[in-house]
């Protein structure tokens, strides 16, 4: 057997030995290299940032210890790194050899061979063998190949270990997330048997991971939800949009160990593994948030009721105050003194303003009090009626309202009338120097229409976007633009009662556009 073949066999035996750790294999390789190359020392050096760190060292004469660090500058290693291919010499210290190797003075190394170690695409460092004694003959091609081969194996092995570390870290991270997640995370296999049940799931369902493993998912679902969920998973499994993963959140009804059923929100992901499909459900108990939501809805309804009753009952005393201040004004203006006239004047103004506010509040709270019966409603007709109501204002302001064809939507005609009336009246009221031009457009997306009302009025600063929809909030003083500030909040309320959204876009001097969504009614 040639010495090369023998060397390869030895290399193979070392690297393939299952009982050896990587570091032991590394040292065995270094020792083997020293022996076969007839040199005293072998190193694996990591080179970065201008320094050289000895990762592993072995051989007959180890003058450098593992872990030691030295500057790269002026050493043979520096040269080897820059060369990017094996560098070698055998008689650097020999006064007869010429030229004398420049690093000999620094390291007293007479013989050296070093090959770059590359990990992935990164230059890791060098595999080096050296001796302070000169070597009898030059390195043969076989010897140089052997060093290159070792360097390749080390590079490959280091890369594999890095990938393993990364995987382990990611697994540990994943396991950590699984453990600390408050959400229940449950994986089931294709037979819908539970194969993973995290701590969050234990807390949510009351089962321990040990007792639930291998059980069908049905155990965790309320009876009513079982078949629906099974179908859902089956559909999901065979779904043609079978990307590797996909998730959609939906509400389901879960069942705890003690039999209690609870509302939950769950999303599911699908993963194709070598062992078949794996479904992972991330589930959140929404009992508390549902309760909070119901509570909020009730408290809102109560507030509305309160606002209605308050504004309604306030009308009676208000009528008294208003009537008698007016009676005072009627009978005694000019008959008392100037002060009295002034006082009466303020009282009358205040009462008038209060009356407006209470009427508006009543109007506002009524939108919430009405029982909704949303029916297909033609917006063309609503706008026509609105414009008829606004005829006088349109004449006074020389205003023109144009409109695209408008759809039939699901809604309450009375409320929609209020909505358009308020938005169009607003557009006419906040007009600029030019006569008002208002345009209504509608755009469909799916089952929803977005209706936009654009004007050429004074507009407003976008920083006030949040305020314009708040009840009784005004951007102008009452002398400039009278009104209570109810219009847009009423519009918002109507839209929200119709499960829509409303928003505004505006810039001072460049008009405003108010848009809202309504459900298609065609």
């Amino acid at each position: 057997m040639s010495s090369y073949a023998a060397a390869l066999r030895e290399l193979y035996e070392i690297t393939a030995d299952r009982d050896l750790e990587f570091s032991a294999k590394l040292r065995a390789l270094l020792r083997m290299g020293c022996r076969r190359l007839g040199l005293d020392m072998g190193f694996l050096a990591r080179i970065r940032g201008g320094r050289c760190e000895i990762v592993a060292a072995d051989g007959a004469e180890t003058v450098v210890e593992e872990g030691s660090l030295y500057a790269l500058e002026g050493t043979i290693s520096h040269e080897a790194v820059q060369a990017g291919e094996p560098v070698h010499f055998t008689r650097a210290g020999d006064p007869r050899s010429s030229p004398r190797h420049p690093s000999y003075d620094a390291s007293r190394m007479a013989a050296y061979i070093g090959a770059p170690v590359v990990v992935g695409s990164e230059d890791f460092g060098l595999l080096e063998f050296s001796s302070s004694r000169a070597r009898p003959g030059p390195f043969t091609e076989t010897e140089r190949d052997l060093v290159t081969l070792m360097a390749h194996w080390i590079g490959g092995e280091l890369q594999r270990r890095r990938a393993e570390d990364a995987l382990r870290a990611s697994e540990a991270k994943f396991a950590g997330i699984l453990e600390v997640a408050v959400d229940a995370i449950i994986s089931v296999d294709e037979e819908q048997r539970i194969v993973l049940f995290n701590r969050g799931a234990e807390g949510t369902f009351g089962y321990s991971s040990e007792e639930i493993m291998g059980q069908p998912l049905d155990v965790l679902l309320s009876e009513g939800a079982r078949s629906a969920h099974r179908n859902h998973i089956r559909e999901f499994a065979g779904s043609p949009v079978s990307s590797r993963r996909m998730a959609e959140r939906q509400e389901i009804s879960g069942r705890r160990k003690d039999g209690e059923e609870f509302p939950a929100e769950a999303s599911i992901s699908k993963l194709d593994t070598p062992d078949g499909k794996l479904f992972t459900v991330v589930l959140q108990d929404i009992t508390a948030s549902k309760r909070a939501h119901d509570e909020l809805a009730r408290s809102n309804a109560e507030l509305e009721q309160f606002a209605y009753v308050a504004s309604h009952d306030l009308q009676e005393p208000l009528r008294m105050v208003a009537s008698y201040t007016q009676l005072l004004a009627r009978r005694y203006r000019g008959k008392l003194d100037e002060d009295a006239d002034e006082f009466i004047g303020y009282a009358v103004d205040g009462v008038n303003r209060m009356r407006e506010l209470i009427n508006d509040l009543l109007l506002y709270s009524r939108v919430g009090m009405q029982v909704e019966e949303f029916v297909p409603t033609d917006l063309e007709r609503v706008v026509k009626d609105t414009l008829a109501d606004l005829e006088l204002t349109l004449e006074e302001t020389d205003g023109v309202v144009t409109s695209d064809p408008l759809p039939v939507v699901l809604g309450d005609e009375g409320q929609l009338l209020q909505l358009f009336q308020n938005l169009i009246a607003n557009a006419l009221k906040f007009r600029g120097d030019d006569s008002p031009r208002v345009h209504i457009s509608a755009q469909r997306s799916g089952k929803e229409w977005t209706v936009s009302i654009r004007d050429n009025g004074i507009g407003f600063d976008p920083e006030h976007l949040d305020r314009v929809f708040v009840i009784f909030q005004r951007l102008h003083n009452r002398r400039e633009y009278p009104g209570t500030g109810i219009g847009l909040s009423l519009a918002k309320k109507v839209v929200e009662r119709h499960s829509g959204r409303i928003w505004a876009e505006s810039e001072p001097g460049r008009g405003s556009t108010f848009s809202f969504t309504l459900r298609d009614g065609g």
């Binding site: 008294m320 208003a322 009537s323």
Partner: protein, 149 residues
Amino acid sequence: MDGIPVAARPIEILLVEDNPGDVRLTQEALKEGKVRNHLNVVWDGMAALAFLRREGEYEGAVRPDLILLDLNLPKKDGREVLEEVKGNPELRRLPVVVLTTSEAEQDILKAYDLQVNAYITKPVDLDQFIGVVRAIEDFWLTVVKLPSG
């Protein structure tokens, strides 16, 4: 035929109202009217029925030409008064005007079901209130021809 001649005697009006402020306002409004009138005031529904039936302290009460009826009253509310007046053969021809702050639709419908002659919401504005009282006066006492007796 023109309306009944009413110049001979003041028009008798029964006002059923528990709010003194409203009573006074009605008086003031009627004062500015052009028809001579006499306002009889009772404060609750029981008293209104006693007045109309000439019972107890109202033994000598006049038969009013017009009833102005508030809906929300103590003891017996306006709806009950209306029901009894319209169900009583002797009283049912009396014109009744419901004058109230309630704008609730069911109140309005109920009142018309009970054959109220007019349903009027009290306006917050004084001028409007005076206008309403005068319109009632004009309409029921000079324009509408009522069965006599």
